[in-house]
């Protein structure tokens, strides 16, 4: 079993505190969902776990199986079992998708036991077809000219090829059409096992109909304010964040509050 443990995490970006004491434990075998208003720090959490240089941990710690991530480079974190499907994946000229994924797999294997071209291609073809991606896309430069939906699908393809222990999926559903959402969900569900855990960030209950989470966390103002099961997401969908905030008696300003009440009055 692998465990990702976030302890009293405080993170600043460009001098501004975004995460304000966040605790979270994700074990393999569990699917977690995080929901929360825009700008609340969900992507900040995922980027900080992966090690993006722009995010400064000012207090607290993150561990993977007892190893402190603070001492690990981005690539070492990935090799320790972490994966981040990014909200905005980069486009990279010069590196084909295929070559990239092969390098990623080989980075996890000893120098004298690199994956053979044949078994790599077999695996790639299998996963690619599972996600209804064309062969041509695998040969293109990494994400270059990919549509929003294609990029998301490609993130999931990479996850399926690399088979990480703990995957963080940052808004993997945004920008996907209905069919694509089903395909991508199928991909994530195919990974479900005792050796795989996921932390899914989403705004929409719909994704959680396809990938049913074991835990749902609500994040507001840089903290997890409530944790529950799949029903919590349904309740949120019905009542919105303002309802939950008032229920919990939190003093948090929500960006879109005025607009929402305006629509209600209308």
């Amino acid at each position: 079993m692998t465990t990702l443990k976030v302890e009293n995490l405080h993170v600043s970006v460009a001098g501004k505190e975004i995460l304000k004491g966040l605790d979270l434990i994700v074990n393999t075998g569990e699917i977690h969902a995080i929901m929360g208003p825009n700008g609340t720090g969900k992507s900040t959490l995922s980027q900080t776990i992966m090690g993006h240089p722009a995010y400064q941990v000012t207090q607290g710690n993150i561990y993977i199986d007892g190893q402190n991530l603070a001492e690990m480079s981005v690539d070492a974190r990935a090799r320790a079992g972490l994966f981040l499907a990014m909200q905005y994946p980069s486009e990279i000229q010069g590196v084909t998708n295929t070559e990239f994924m092969r390098a990623a797999i080989n980075a996890r294997r000893p120098e004298d036991d690199q994956i053979s071209v044949m078994s790599f291609i077999e695996k790639l073809d299998e996963k690619r077809e599972f996600l209804a991606m064309t062969e041509e896309m695998a040969e293109r430069y990494l994400n270059e000219g990919f549509s929003g939906g294609e990029k998301k699908r490609n993130e999931i393809l990479q996850m399926m090829m690399i088979q990480p222990q703990i995957a963080i999926l940052d808004e993997i559903d945004s920008g996907l059409d209905i069919d694509a959402l089903k395909v991508v969900s199928r991909g994530v569900n195919s990974m479900r096992s005792n050796e795989f855990g996921a932390l899914m960030i989403t705004h929409y209950q719909r994704l959680l109909d396809y990938i049913v989470p074991d835990f749902v966390h609500v994040m507001m103002d840089g903290k997890i304010v409530k944790t529950g099961d799949a029903n919590l997401a349904k309740k949120l969908e019905a009542e919105g964040y303002a309802g939950l905030r008032d229920e919990l008696g939190l003093d948090v300003h929500l960006t879109d509050e005025e607009t929402n009440s305006y629509f209600v009055e209308d």
Binding site: V74, S90, M101, A103, A104, A107, R108
Partner: protein, 394 residues
């Protein structure tokens, strides 16, 4: 002998956006160094190795000898085949093309001569290895002439190296004549040293229905201006000029690739890919020119450079000059970057920073890399990439 005043009045060759007049490439003292050492060729590889003024390796396959192929050091060729050699030299790149080429014509004292008779075909690659001995501090002035007869079919791999580390200059002019129906693949791996400032000029004259493809890898470590040109003179002449370049440290490589469509139904494609590291500069100029009367011709070019450092400087300048209506032509150029965000993305999949960079570079140059004529040449380009990457953190 050297008509200094007349040469000085010629213009320097044009390398747009490259400031190189301060390199003083027009002041050369030709070196007279000799050696007995063969540095690269061995094991009955077909070809020749010339270092300084010495020819240390010379081997042709039975098949080549039987078909009358001539491969020898330039000085020896001038002695043995004087009239032929002297008639050919200057026939592709004119004696007075520009100040540096003219000076090379007057001053060269080493080089290689290759003569492939009509109809000759061979499958093994002919290696031409030219080494600048930079031990005395004098300059390298070399000339290569390759004459490929009608309907002959050959593959050539030329390599250039610097041996020694004295600060010197090099001037190398390479002329190729491809007669009617000849098929030539001419690959070049240029890896002159950091202390060698060089002018390299290579040009081919392509006759009717002949095809000449250049595969050029510019992996020099010093300041270099390099021109590669194809004159498509005959009906249906074809040339693909592929160039890759990698620059490091503070060096500048300024390149011009030119295709001139003169004959009807000629096809000229330029394809350039470059990667720039550290504080270095890489400039690609692509010139496609179709003259009036070259009906049914095609001129295409694509040049892309990728910068892997904030302090790098890169340029890709396409130029199409078309004086005929009945043609097809097109160009694409770009200057891109791999930035911190992209490196982060690659590394987030477990790939080390070093491997990530190598991936980007190798991938970007892949198309030309794969066209190198031998496994050994492909391997050589890859190891040159690795070698250059070692300087990355300097």
């Amino acid at each position: 002998m050297v008509d200094n005043i007349a040469i000085a009045s010629l213009p320097l060759p044009e390398f747009a956006k490259v400031r190189y007049s301060g390199w003083q490439l027009d002041e050369l003292t030709p070196a007279t160094e000799n050696t007995k050492t063969t540095y690269f060729l061995k094991n009955t590889i077909s070809g020749i190795e010339v270092s300084g003024q010495s020819t240390t390796y010379q081997h042709l396959s039975e098949n080549m000898i039987a078909q009358g192929v001539i491969v020898m050091g330039m000085k020896q060729a001038q002695m043995v085949y004087g009239p032929l050699v002297n008639k050919l030299i200057g026939s592709v790149i004119s004696k007075r093309a520009d100040r540096l080429s003219a000076q090379n014509y007057e001053q060269f004292n080493t080089g290689i001569f290759v003569y492939i008779p009509d109809q000759v075909k061979f499958d093994d690659v002919l290696h031409l290895t030219l080494n600048h001995l930079a031990m005395s501090g004098q300059d390298f002035v070399a000339r290569i002439f390759v004459c490929v007869g009608a309907h002959a079919k050959v593959t050539i791999l030329q390599e250039m190296h610097t041996i020694g580390s004295e600060k010197t200059k090099a001037s190398v002019v390479i002329e190729v004549l491809a007669k009617v129906g000849a098929q030539v693949t001419y690959a070049n791996i240029d890896s002159l040293g950091e202390q060698t400032t060089a002018f390299i000029n290579r040009e081919v004259l392509v006759k009717d229905h002949a095809t000449v493809d250049w595969q050029n890898a510019e992996f020099n470590d010093g300041n270099v201006v390099m021109r590669v040109a194809s004159q498509l003179n005959g009906e249906g002449a074809t040339s693909h000029a592929n160039v890759i370049g990698l620059t490091i440290k503070k060096q500048t490589q300024g390149l011009v690739t030119t295709v001139l469509n003169k004959g009807r139904h000629t096809v000229g494609h330029i394809f350039q890919r470059g990667v720039i590291l550290n504080r270095s500069t890489l400039v690609f100029n692509g010139i496609g020119q179709i003259i009036k009367g070259a009906k049914g011709s095609d001129a295409q070019q694509e040049s892309r450079v990728l910068m892997l450092s904030r302090r790098a400087r890169g340029d890709a300048n396409p130029l199409l000059l078309i004086d005929e209506n009945d043609v097809t032509a097109g160009h694409a150029a770009s200057v891109g970057r791999v930035d911190d965000e992209q490196m982060y993305y690659l590394m987030s999949r477990g790939i080390s920073e070093r491997v990530a960079r190598k991936l980007v570079i190798r991938g970007f140059m892949g198309e030309v890399l794969m066209k190198m004529p031998t496994r050994a040449a492909q391997q050589k380009v890859m190891s040159e990439i690795e070698r250059k990457l070692q300087y990355e953190d300097d």
